[in-house]
């Protein structure tokens, strides 16, 4: 087995536990789209063309509420703006790649793939290490398309009462468990979470995610600077 394929498989393996909550999320998206009156082709098209759970849900919400194109586009942009930070974090490891690879990897760069590959890329120096991100991304893509399709078929069979959407915040919570032990991280988490919750209705165009994230990063910048000074 060659090295690239090995790393690709490692990406699949590492991201797999994170796919469990993606399954209900994808199904919910499909079910929701059909309930809101979109046809199966458009629903499938959204998952293939946009390929981003949060963006697609926002799209459904706003489009079915009759929002203008401008609002829909800017909201999707705001929801996506966290990807600027993912890109910034990963670019160090990807900057030597060919443009075609950067394009492919960008298409597959979703939260779950970022979360597992970020630590892999940091700790490995193999020149093919981007295959880890590729493997994780392709896994997310495949699961997302299959579950969207299942959601379209199931339509409204799944009861709302199960509260499966709650699996989404739990996934992200699970990704943070290692950070709960570090004081600076805990402060950053609380700052970002509080601003997002309080700003949810006040900050326009669903920009609360990026506003809260940047506030958290600024706090991290200040706190780490203070701590470095103390250690000098």
């Amino acid at each position: 087995m060659n090295n690239k394929f090995k790393i690709f498989l490692k990406g699949i393996k590492d991201v797999s536990p994170l796919m469990i909550p993606v399954v209900p999320f994808g199904i919910i998206f499909g079910v929701l789209a059909i309930e809101l009156g979109f046809n199966g082709y458009i629903t499938m098209g959204m998952s293939i063309i946009i390929f981003g759970g949060a963006s697609q849900i926002i799209f459904l919400q706003l489009f079915s509420a009759g929002a203008s194109s401008l609002i829909i586009l800017s909201s999707v942009g705001a929801v996506n703006s966290r990807h600027l930070l993912y890109g910034a974090v990963l670019s160090e490891h990807l900057s030597d790649l060919k443009l075609s690879w950067k394009i492919i990897i960008s298409y597959f760069l979703v939260d779950q793939a970022f979360a597992v590959s970020n630590s892999y890329l940091k700790n490995n120096n193999d020149k093919n290490k981007h295959f880890h991100l590729f493997g994780a991304g392709v896994t997310c893509w495949t699961i997302w398309q299959i579950t969207t399709f299942i959601g379209i078929i199931l339509g409204s069979v799944i009861p709302d009462k199960l509260g499966l959407t709650f699996a989404i915040p739990l996934t992200f919570l699970a990704l943070l468990v290692n950070d709960f032990r570090k004081l600076v991280n805990v402060i950053v988490i609380l700052v970002s979470g509080t601003i997002a919750t309080l700003g949810y209705q006040i900050i326009p165009f669903k920009a609360y995610v990026i506003v809260a994230s940047l506030s958290g990063l600024i706090v991290a910048f200040i706190l780490t600077k203070l701590m470095n000074k103390k250690n000098d």
Binding site: F172, A196, T197
Partner: protein, 104 residues
């Protein structure tokens, strides 16, 4: 037809937010300080997704009382800290959530 165009535009926006930094930033721009601050990106972004999903109701108002999601998230956090296991964290959260809404 308009919805197809809108979906394609949304797809382009999504792609370019992912692509732009990867394409623009160069290795040389990174030093230890930049790396240190960027290591807090997950801690800065994920809570912005987690907290509203737990503390807000469907209408977007803050709901503290009678909200099983808070307790379920708390259980998941404790399990996460103790086990450091992603699947255990997710399932303990879902299980306690269902226990609270269906049994209690």
């Amino acid at each position: 037809m308009t919805s197809w165009f809108l979906i394609i535009y949304c797809g382009l926006i999504t792609f370019f937010t992912r692509f732009s930094m990867i394409a623009l930033l160069k290795k040389e721009m990174f030093n230890d300080r930049v790396r240190e601050v960027l290591s807090y990106v997950p801690s800065a972004i994920f809570p912005a997704i987690i907290f509203p999903a737990i503390f807000l109701d469907n209408a977007g108002s803050i709901q503290i009382e009678d909200n099983p999601k808070i307790l379920a998230a708390f259980v998941a956090t404790i399990v996460g800290i103790l086990t450091r296991n992603i699947i255990a964290t997710i399932f303990s959260g879902l299980a306690s959530y269902w226990f609270l809404i269906f049994v209690v």
